[in-house]
C-alpha cells in the first residue's frame, strides 16, 4: 500500500510511504535522492526497492529533499548540506523508531552523515559513496592500461617522464574526491564519520560499481583509505561490470538481492543490540 506523505516544516517535503500488508517490528527504510533526480531514483530503483522491502515487513519512505522533485525549495536559508540533514531528520520523525538509510552517489554521503548525526539510524547502505584513490588504485589502473593498450600506455609514460623533467605548472590534486563536490571533501572527514558510526554499532553496506572505476577499482581500497579503522564489520560488494546507476536489469537484480540480504541481517542486529524508540 502506498500513500503520499507531506511532512517537515510546513509540510513542505513530499514523499511516498510504502507500508507492508503485515507490519512487523522492523526498522523503516529511507531511500534518499541521488543527486538532483527525484524520489523514484535512477531507473526507478527506489520505487522497486520500497515495494520489495515492504514485502518483507519494512515501511519504506522515498522522498524529495527541499528543492528537488516535488518538494519546494527551502526558505530557511540553510546551506545545502545542512538542509539535507534537516530533511532526513524530518523523515526520521515521520517514520518513527529505528531506521535504515540508503543512497547512491551524493545520497550515499548523505546517508553516512545521517548515520553519524542521528542515533535512530541503525544501518546505512552506501552505493558509490565518496572514496579516495590509493597507490593500489593507481597500480591497478596502470596495469589495466598496459594490458588493454600497451602502445598508448607507453606514450602516456613518456609524457609523464617529460612532465617530470619540466616542472608542472600546478601541483596535482590527487587526493581530491572526484566526480561530485557536494559530498565529503577529505579522507579525514569521511574517517571521522565512519569511525563514530562503527563505534555506535551501525550496520554498514558499501557497494561500488564499475561506473566509479575512476576512483575505486578494487575491494580492499576502502580499508586502504582508512588503515587505522577496523572495517571487518562492514559488508562490501564491488560490481565492476555495472554502471553507476545499475542501469542493466540483471545488475539491478543482483544489487537488490544484496540490499535485501543486508537489510535482513541489519534488522536482526538492530533488534538485538539497540532499544526500539
Amino acid at each position: 500500500m502506498e500513500r503520499v506523505v507531506r511532512f517537515g516544516p510546513g509540510e513542505s517535503l513530499t514523499g511516498v510511504l510504502t507500508e507492508p500488508a503485515e507490519p512487523r517490528a522492523l526498522p523503516a527504510v529511507l531511500l534518499l535522492d541521488a543527486g538532483i533526480l527525484h524520489r523514484v531514483g535512477p531507473n526507478r530503483m527506489n520505487v522497486e526497492l520500497a515495494r520489495r522491502f515492504a514485502a518483507t515487513g519494512h515501511r519504506a519512505l522515498r522522498f524529495d529533499f527541499a528543492g528537488i522533485g516535488d518538494s519546494p525549495a527551502r526558505t530557511d536559508g540553510l546551506a545545502l548540506g545542512e538542509g539535507v540533514q534537516r530533511d532526513i531528520a524530518a523523515a526520521l520523525d515521520l517514520v518513527g523508531g529505528q531506521a535504515v538509510v540508503m543512497g547512491l552517489c551524493s545520497g550515499a554521503d548523505n546517508a553516512l552523515r545521517a548515520a553519524y548525526r542521528d542515533p535512530r539510524v541503525v544501518g546505512a547502505a552506501l552505493l558509490d559513496p565518496t572514496v579516495f584513490r590509493t597507490p593500489g588504485w593507481y597500480a591497478r589502473r596502470a596495469m589495466q592500461k598496459v594490458t588493454s593498450d600497451p602502445f598508448g600506455a607507453l606514450k602516456q609514460l613518456a609524457g609523464r617522464v617529460r612532465k617530470e623533467v619540466a616542472p608542472p605548472e600546478a601541483a596535482p590534486q590527487e587526493n581530491r574526491p572526484e566526480m561530485f563536490y557536494t559530498g565529503f571533501q577529505t579522507r579525514e572527514e569521511v574517517e571521522t564519520h565512519l569511525s563514530a558510526v562503527l563505534a555506535r554499532g551501525v550496520s554498514l553496506l558499501y557497494v561500488f560499481s564499475g561506473g566509479w572505476a575512476d576512483i575505486f577499482n578494487y575491494p580492499g581500497q576502502l580499508q586502504d583509505n582508512h588503515p587505522s579503522l577496523d572495517l571487518s564489520p562492514v559488508r562490501l560488494h564491488h560490481h565492476p561490470e555495472a554502471d553507476h546507476t545499475f542501469s542493466r536489469r540483471a545488475h539491478r537484480e543482483v544489487l537488490f538481492a544484496e540490499l535485501g540480504s543486508w537489510l535482513a541481517a541489519c534488522s536482526a542486529t538492530a533488534a538485538g543490540a539497540l532499544p526500539r524508540a
Partner: protein, 230 residues
C-alpha cells in the same frame, strides 16, 4: 501543488494537481517514457506551475507502471497509457471547475496524448516521437536505457500510425528544430483544424545534462507553451 493517488484500486495512479480556483480551463500532462521521463521531471513540474500561473488547472501524472504509480515497466502499453490519460482528465474535471480540457504530451507522451485526444478539446505536443524514432524504440529490444519494454508495447510501437481522425479542433505543436517535425506537422495539419506550429530552438529537456541524470529546463519552450491561448 497537491500530490495524490487516484484511479481504481487495481490501477492506482500518482498525480500532482496544480489547482487554479475558479478557472474553467485545465490541462493533463503526459510525460515521456523511461529515462526521458526521469530527466524531464523538473521541466514538467515547472511547465505545470507556469500553466497554473497562466490560469490553467494542471494535472501531472505517472501512467501505470511508471514513476510513483503502481505497476512496473512490463505493464506499460500505449493503450494503457492512453486510458490513464482519460482517467486523469476525469479526475481533473472532478477535482476542479475545469471543463475545457487540453492534453499535453512530450515525446512518447505525445503519442499517448494523440491516442487519448478524443477526451479533450485541444492537444498540445512537444517533440512527439516521429516515425523512425517510434520504430527504433519498438525495435530496441527487451531493455532500453534502464527500462524493460513490454512485448505488447514493442508491438504497438512497431505498428504505430499517426491518427488522422478523431482529433480535437485545436492544437499546438512545438519543435526544437524544424526539420524533424515536417512529416508530423503535415499529417496532423490535415486532422487538427486549427493546428499552430512553433519552432523554439532549445536543448531537449529529456536528454541528460552534465551526467546528472536530469535534463535541462528549456525556459523558452515553457514560455511558448504556457502563453498559448488555447
Amino acid at each position: 501543488m497537491t500530490p495524490f493517488y487516484f484511479g481504481p484500486e487495481e490501477r492506482r495512479l500518482f498525480g500532482v494537481l496544480h489547482r487554479v480556483p475558479g478557472s474553467g480551463r485545465g490541462v493533463v500532462l503526459v510525460p515521456p517514457f523511461g529515462q526521458e521521463a526521469l530527466r524531464s521531471h523538473r521541466t514538467l513540474r515547472i511547465l505545470a506551475e507556469s500553466w497554473a500561473r497562466a490560469g490553467w488547472n494542471a494535472l501531472r501524472f505517472d501512467p501505470y507502471g511508471t514513476g510513483d504509480s503502481a505497476g512496473d515497466d512490463l505493464d506499460v502499453t500505449l493503450a494503457g497509457m492512453a486510458s490513464d490519460a482519460r482517467l486523469a482528465a476525469a479526475e481533473l474535471a472532478a477535482a476542479t471547475q475545469a471543463r475545457q480540457l487540453a492534453v499535453f504530451g512530450m515525446r512518447l507522451g505525445g503519442l499517448v496524448a494523440l491516442s487519448a485526444a478524443d477526451a479533450f478539446k485541444a492537444v498540445v505536443l512537444w517533440e512527439p516521437l516521429v516515425d523512425d524514432d517510434v520504430r527504433a524504440l519498438g525495435n530496441a529490444g527487451y531493455e532500453h536505457e534502464g527500462f524493460r519494454i513490454a512485448p505488447e508495447l514493442r508491438r504497438e510501437l512497431r505498428d504505430y500510425r499517426l491518427p488522422t481522425a478523431g482529433l480535437p479542433k485545436r492544437g499546438l505543436l512545438v519543435w526544437n528544430a524544424a526539420a524533424r517535425g515536417d512529416r508530423v506537422t503535415q499529417a496532423l495539419g490535415g486532422a487538427v483544424e486549427r493546428l499552430e506550429t512553433r519552432v523554439v530552438p532549445a536543448p531537449p529537456a529529456w536528454n541528460e545534462e552534465n551526467d546528472f541524470g536530469a535534463g535541462p529546463i528549456p525556459a523558452a519552450v515553457i514560455d511558448a507553451l504556457a502563453s498559448w491561448r488555447g
